[in-house]
Amino acid sequence: MRCVSTDDLNIEVNGEILVLDRSGAAWWPGQETLVFADIHFEKGSSYAMRGALLPPYDTRTTLRRMGDVVARRRPKRIVALGDSFHDRQAADRLDAEERAALSALGRAADWVWITGNHDPAPPAWLGGTVVDEIKLGRLVFRHEPGAMFQPGEIAGHLHPVTTVTRRGRSLRRRCFVSDGRRMVLPAFGAYAGGLDLWETAIRALFDGDFAAFMLGTSRVYAVSGAAVLQTLRRTAAS
């Protein structure tokens, strides 16, 4: 079969069904809520200040990818899981075009900005609610996954990536990580780097088996963690 599958990958976290979007965002149909982690706007210019003149287009790429998924999912609410701006001055460095695009996205839904370690408070002009964490249904959204286990935790901060190797080829991509009780989202920002799954920071979160769900071009794939596969449910894309 060579046909491109656009099946959504659904997983259950603490009893709530979440759709893992190929963009790296999580879509919660039950609450019409879209979740982004670690957007890191203006990471490029932050490096430029320190002398590495990286292409100044990361914010544009990130905004375009956000715009795509927002147009597809049409959320009522958007939760940004923190580190949305790479540093405190990042919002000031956006140019007019980028500000306009971001403002338009800001008006597309009700935003909940969770504060992260990079950006204690997003700029006031963006609107939305700013909180440390928020509980919705059986899920709790925060930036940094807590050391103490709390069922239903949806977090970012760790930028998980993993590598699969097959037929002499290997592929290293961002991934979602979950054991069915909590979930860590991949970083969304174009310049956000990654932390390999084998890093203890990620392993330490899950005591037993956990699954990695890797971002593909057309969908997300379950690539490791057999024990939680029973939580997987496939639904055909509409």
Binding site: P55, T61, V164, A222
Partner: protein, 810 residues
Amino acid sequence: MNALPQAFSDWFASRGWAPRPHQLALVEHAARGESVLLIAPTGGGKTLAGFLPTLIDLAKLPSRRPRALHTLYISPLKALAVDVARNLDTPVEEMRLPVRIETRTGDTPASRRQRQKTLPPDILLTTPEQLALLVASRESARLFESLKTVVLDELHAMHNSKRGDLLALGLARLRTLAPEHRTVGLSATVADPKPLLDYMGGGALVRGLAGAAPQISILASDTYVPWAGHIARYAMADVLEAIKRAKTSLVFVNTRANAERTFQELWRLNEGNLPIALHHGSLAPAQRRKVESAMTKGALRAVVCTSTLDLGIDWGAVDNVICIGAPKGAARLVQRIGRANHRLDEPSQALLVPSNRFEVLECEAARDAVMAGELDGDRLRIGGLDVLAQHVLGTACAKPFDADRLFAEVTSASPYAHLTRDDFDKVVDFVATGGYALKRYDRYARLRRTEDGKWRVAHPRVAQQYRMNVGVIVEDPMIDIRLQAKGRPTGVGGRVLGQMEEYFVEQLAHGDTFVFAGDVLRFEGMHEDAAYVSRTHDPEAGVPSYNGGKFPLSTFLAKRVREMVSRPESWAVLPDPVNEWLRIQEFRSYIPQPGQLLVETFPRGSKNYLVCYPFEGRLAHQTLGMLLTRRLERLRMRPLGFSANEYALAVWALRDMSGLDMGKLFDQDMLGDDLDAWLGESNLYKRTFRNCAIIAGLIERRFPGREKTGRQVTFSSDLIYDVLREHEPDHILLRATYEDAATGLLDIARLSEMLARVKARIVTKRLDRVSPLAVPALLEIAKEMVAGEAHEDILRETEESLIADAMRVD
């Protein structure tokens, strides 16, 4: 003889030597202030010839004089610079010349390097990287104003490479700082000296006497020649015999993995315990020094080595050179043969050991070429824009520069002779602010304009960054290989066996076997930043660490091999199995004539094959394979994979491809959109981008301890690549990457020439089964799966196997 001062004539006489004509010629040219290119085989007293005029000049000076640099010597190898310095000591001491000689390499203590800038020796021996640092220092103008002579050693090995670009720019700087100096180029025999003369900035040509013709034999078996592979295990007993017959042998192989394997095989047979050592680039430096010094002492009977010993220190005792595998090029073969017996009047002995049938042809063709005195002419590279960016920054570090003047200076260097002013300005803009169309980094600029319009560095930190980043050699990120303790899980403890390139480790799957440090190892998995392995008794390593050679077959040699195949009357010299192989090919299929491209199609098993024979080297064939499978996918042929060697490309598909219009399939237009689409996802291309980005100074090179592993850099350069390609596909750095890949890892340049050459000259053979010529390509170990949706396939398969595992009820 009258060209030499008395003291020098006496010195030659005291050693029982007579000065050679080319040594005297160099003295005469120097007296007239002329630059010279000396082309002479090894063993001709070439280095001494290069220094004689300098020594004569310095001998005239009073011994008490202000310290000033007279002669700068540049070698591609720091070991060679050190060795030459040692050799110069002899005449200097014996004639009691008032001459101060010093070396300067990465190993020289920082305090001495600092002192050398203000209190230089008369003769400084160094490398291209150190020259770059010197011309970028604030002391450069004063240091070089006294310079009289630049000696470029092993110029043939330096000029046509990225390092050659760096050196050319440094030399252009020297022409500005010391306009009166002359240049002496020293080179082995080359097909065409003109590019070398251009590179030096012109001069007279002096040729040394040709040495005795080498005696080259080819080890050929009339009973068995392997169909494929690169190890030549069948011949190891004969190789050991050849080592026994000689005093000291150098055994050259083309890759590090082959060096490991050959070393292992020789020792398996080495019952007499002949001292045979191993030398290659990823052995620890201390280990390499040990082998070199044992060699110098004459304590070894043989060294198995890679191109690390193609150049370098003269070992007088070597009387036999054995080349295992394909010679790849006639010039490379001459260079290697020249490592034996550095005396002109005695013929060098060499034994070529082909490891498969095609290599028999290649060895014959190379021997013919060497005996006829014909050598490969390399395609001249165009100076890299990434190297230029590094140089522009370095120039600003020394002192603010004027763009017009620097442009004139840069274009006086032959690799940059055709650089346009527009591209130059773009490079300066890149160095200053990143060169992006979206001008956002002006306030973070690394270069700023002074009031008189010159460019200066914006901050001392910039000069520091430059010094950390100088040079064009980018090491691959390395990963520790740890031996897993028995009965313990992966990731616990484990002795470090050494390091391997990250990209190699990344392609290993659990259970794969490979050779490393003389052992066959089994890959158990990655944990933290190490690869865990166990020892295995499996004699066959499944994964070669390099597929075939790193150097592609030269265009020149490929042409000779093609011609040899096309003329049945020339097959008589070939061993019986090879001769028979070609005759059956002639009977069953077709023998392609020069200029033609043979394309065969046949079914085999459940698959359909298409095999073509461009003879353009593995790199070009791999690129062709990627592009062809894209097309075949579009033509709904359902391609499954391909494999390439130096001579042929095999593609297999579910559908029968024999009905296709081959002229259309092989049309040059594949180098348009198909290539562009493929470049977007090619890992090789992204690696090229990473190297260019490091050389150009966009991202920093890694130093041990400064970053945890190489994985993060690889990752972030990929992110930069994706974003830059999306927003600014014509950016100067992407152009640098393309030009690099086109002549490097992807060999697009050669592929393009081939496609043009065979246009309307494709011969198609529809066969009912595999042809003799196709067998080696089908047996290649390294196979590629189709590029198209390959990434999604990997993910889909991983998921399917995961689900299958989970659903199993046993």
